[in-house]
């Protein structure tokens, strides 16, 4: 499971999102509805383009609340997108309902983070995996059993002796395999894996990641792997997209993004990963404040409120995704001077050494430090 195979650019597209937006409208009370005040909407997902081909695993990383799970849920039509399009093998499924939606649900599956509550404790492993077949009215009881056994084989769990056990008898890793088997039994073409290993112990994470990798190759699956842990993405993904506050800020082949991150946010995200070399602590820039609320998205670049390089241009104009190298795109004025040329009056950001200490607190702490030493 070293670097993942290259993806044939002519491989058929399985899923494609175009300028996808999902906003959550706050529920208005009777009083504000009478007065005509509309509650603010949370722009959880705010204009995302994404393409996943057959046999490809796309990694989606970002902090909690950046909209990565919303994107996953929107792609499997658990949330109704506010705007934009979702194409499944070229067919627009953004607004389909009824039988066509059920047909889409047959081919797109989702795996959730929590292996402990994702299986109904009252059902046996066999019943859990059989359920999607019942929902879609597939096969006779005997045929369904065949399919369940095959799905268990795919996730490397011997059916013999396990099919009649209950989820409580299994470990976290085994439960997550069962959840994957349940997703596979319908023979889907597209799987969203939403933090599938983040609740598992480190020693078994690798086996679940490896399984996803092998399944995607064997079955030609398109996989969207969602994670806040950028380090795991490097092992199984062909392509990585980094999200911040509802938008993709950087994307590219996973080697490119992981080895040469361009966006200041991605750089900081990579910096945050502790190195395994003892005693070697990299110098880390402290970011100001927290991620802004999706209810009040800043006007310019969404990262400008925390970015150490931010200038007036960043606060006023939102950068567009610009092509850097092959398939490597970044949303930052440092790498794209189009906005700077259009607004010559605003100072543009430049990459370089950061002089500003991030937070006033740090200054006070430094002063304290001096006092304590004396």
């Amino acid at each position: 499971m070293s670097t993942r195979h290259a993806i044939d650019p002519s491989a058929p597209l399985v899923i494609e999102a175009q300028d996808l937006k999902t906003h959550f409208q706050g529920r208005s009370g009777i009083l504000s509805a009478l007065v005509g005040v509309k509650p603010p909407s949370a722009r959880a997902l705010d204009g995302v383009d994404l393409r996943i081909r057959e046999r490809e695993i796309v990694g989606l990383v970002g902090e909690s609340g950046c909209g990565k799970s919303t994107l996953g849920m929107t792609l499997v039509r658990m949330y109704q997108p506010t705007d934009g399009q979702i194409l499944y093998r070229g067919e627009d499924i953004t607004k389909v309902e009824g039988r066509r939606l059920k047909a889409y649900r047959h081919s797109a599956q989702i795996i959730f983070q929590d292996p402990y509550s994702s299986l109904n404790p009252r059902l046996t492993i066999g019943q859990v995996i059989e359920e999607p077949l019942i929902i879609h009215g597939i096969g006779t009881a005997a045929e369904r059993r065949e399919k369940v056994i095959r799905a268990l084989e795919l996730v490397r769990i011997p059916a013999e002796g396990n099919i009649d056990r209950y989820p409580s008898d299994l470990s976290g890793g085994q439960r997550q395999r069962v959840a994957i088997a349940r997703a596979l039994v319908l023979e889907p073409k597209f799987i969203v894996a939403d933090e599938p290993v983040s609740m598992l112990d480190v020693s078994i994470q690798a086996s679940v990641l490896e399984l996803l990798d092998e399944l995607s190759r064997e079955l030609g699956l398109a996989v969207l792997y969602i994670s806040h842990d950028i380090a795991t993405v490097g092992y199984i993904c062909n392509h990585v997209a980094v999200m911040y506050l509802g938008r993709i800020v950087e994307e590219g082949r996973s080697e490119d993004v992981l080895m040469r991150p361009l966006h200041p946010y991605t750089q900081r995200l990579m910096d945050a990963i502790p190195r395994m070399t003892p005693g070697e602590t990299p110098e880390r820039i402290e970011l100001r404040g927290d991620v802004p609320s999706p209810l009040a998205v800043p006007p310019g670049c969404r990262f400008s409120s925390r970015c150490p390089y931010a200038t007036a241009l960043c606060e006023a104009v939102e950068p567009a995704l610009s092509d850097q190298a092959e398939a490597h795109r970044v949303r930052c004025h440092i790498y794209d001077d189009r906005a700077a040329r259009a607004h010559p009056d605003l100072p543009a950001p430049r990459a370089g050494k950061i002089t500003e200490v991030a937070e006033t607190g740090a200054l006070v702490a430094a002063a304290e430090d001096a006092r304590w030493q004396s």
Binding site: M1, S2, T3, E63, S64, R156, I157, P158, S171, G173, Q174, R177, D201, V202, S203, I204, Q205, A206, S207, V208, L209, E210, H228, D229, I230, A231, T232, G234, Y235, E255, L258, M259, R268, L269, M270, D271, A272, I273, P274, R275, M276, T277, P278, G279, E280, T281, R284, E286, L287, D290, E359, T360, G361, A362, V364, A365, E368, D369, W372, Q373
Partner: protein
């Protein structure tokens, strides 16, 4: 953000008298030496409906004054139980045996009054979920100054000024002392808890998964803070975590626990560079890392099998069922603790560790055990 005025203190500059008292308090606290902790043969047992079991068995380690110790292991290995018991927070009817000497005094089995004197003052705890250690109905400043007042004979104003000092140390503006826990974000709350734990400059700091619930960036920011604070407060610290990389960056010494027992301990650099115990080797290879430029990519390896049920602990080595190097003796005899240089490992085959390390870096070694899902 606008500070909400506290009815009790108001927001006004501290008086000269307060400042003088604060200076004295600060000096007094700064003179506190770092604590030395020696844990010796600690066993912690529970009785459950399904029988009695030992969550922790015969754990021994030492925290020399002024050093950091990382206590690592996977869920259910007993690392948090150790810390809770040291703080005297174990549930009633827990059987504790062994000794834990804090500067020579055994702190296991102290009664409530004696414990109160030890907690906060000599030993303080940073918990995993900050929301549970803060009271939602009091403002944060009140909670920190209450803790100070309970142990130090100073005025309220001085205690508040000390709380401001602590907030500055963790990088929070003093004005936010007037706010309530729910007004803080997760990262800020965790910093407030750290400020509270530091307020009395305890000689030993116990940090139980202090960053687990946070985002990676916030996690690294908090850990940077903790490291900085540790460097200049010169206290001792035990950091409990499942993340060996954090320990690699932060701690001089490491204790690796598996299924309630210590698998390996020693200086972090040596343990992670040349592990003696196959479990440490597996854990290290299972940890996802960023690709390094030019270097060949290390494969990610998982350890097959599951942690044994502690209600029915297996005979011999507890890791044997998952160990690719296990021999007949491993399944039969509890391994002795072997000292190699500064490292100690509970393994029968420490003499073959060099050979194991090479083999453990290959995924095939572990894959042969795949039969046991």
């Amino acid at each position: 953000m606008v500070a909400v005025a506290s009815p009790r203190f108001g927001q006004r500059p501290a008086s000269p008298a307060t400042l003088a008292e604060l200076e004295k308090l600060t000096e007094r606290l700064a003179r506190k030496p770092a604590a030395h902790l020696l844990v010796d043969g600690l066993s912690i047992g529970y009785s459950t409906l399904r029988g009695r079991f030992h969550a922790v068995e015969d754990v021994s380690f030492e925290v020399p004054a002024g050093t950091n110790l990382g206590l690592v292991g996977e869920s259910g290995c007993g690392k948090s139980t150790v810390v809770k018991t040291l703080m005297g927070l174990q549930p009633e009817a827990t059987q504790v045996s062994g000794r834990a000497l804090l500067d020579g005094q055994n702190i296991l089995g102290l009664d409530e009054t004696a414990l109160r004197d030890v907690r906060w003052k000599r030993m303080s705890l940073i918990t995993q979920s900050a929301m549970n250690s803060l009271d939602p109905v009091y403002c944060i400043g009140d909670q920190i100054s209450e803790a100070i007042l309970a142990h130090e004979p100073v005025s309220k104003a001085t205690a508040w000024a000390r709380a401001e000092q602590m907030f500055a140390l963790v990088g929070l503006p003093a004005g936010r002392l007037y706010e309530f826990p729910h007004m803080f974000s997760g990262g800020m709350r965790q910093r407030a808890v750290i400020a509270m734990a530091l307020a009395l400059n305890a000689g030993l700091l116990l940090a139980d998964e202090p960053t687990t619930a946070l985002d990676p960036i916030m996690q690294s920011q908090i850990m940077t803070r903790i490291r900085g604070i540790h460097a200049h407060l010169r206290c001792s610290m035990i950091l409990v975590t499942h993340d060996i990389a954090v320990v690699a960056e932060t701690c001089e010494n490491i204790v690796v626990m598996y299924a309630g027992k210590v698998a390996e301990s020693g200086p972090t650099a040596e343990v992670l560079e040349s592990p003696l115990h196959p479990y440490t080797m597996g854990l290290k290879n299972a940890f996802p890392r960023l690709p390094e430029r030019g270097a060949p990519r290390q494969p990610l390896i998982s350890i097959p099998g599951v942690v044994p049920n502690l209600l029915l602990p297996p005979a011999g080595c507890r890791f044997a069922s998952r160990c690719p190097f296990a021999t007949e003796v491993c399944h039969r005899v509890t391994p002795p603790v072997v000292q190699v240089g500064a490292q100690r490992a509970a393994c029968h085959h420490t003499d073959r560790a060099a050979e194991f390390r090479v083999a453990a870096a290959r995924p095939e070694t572990w894959r042969t055990m795949r039969g046991a899902v």
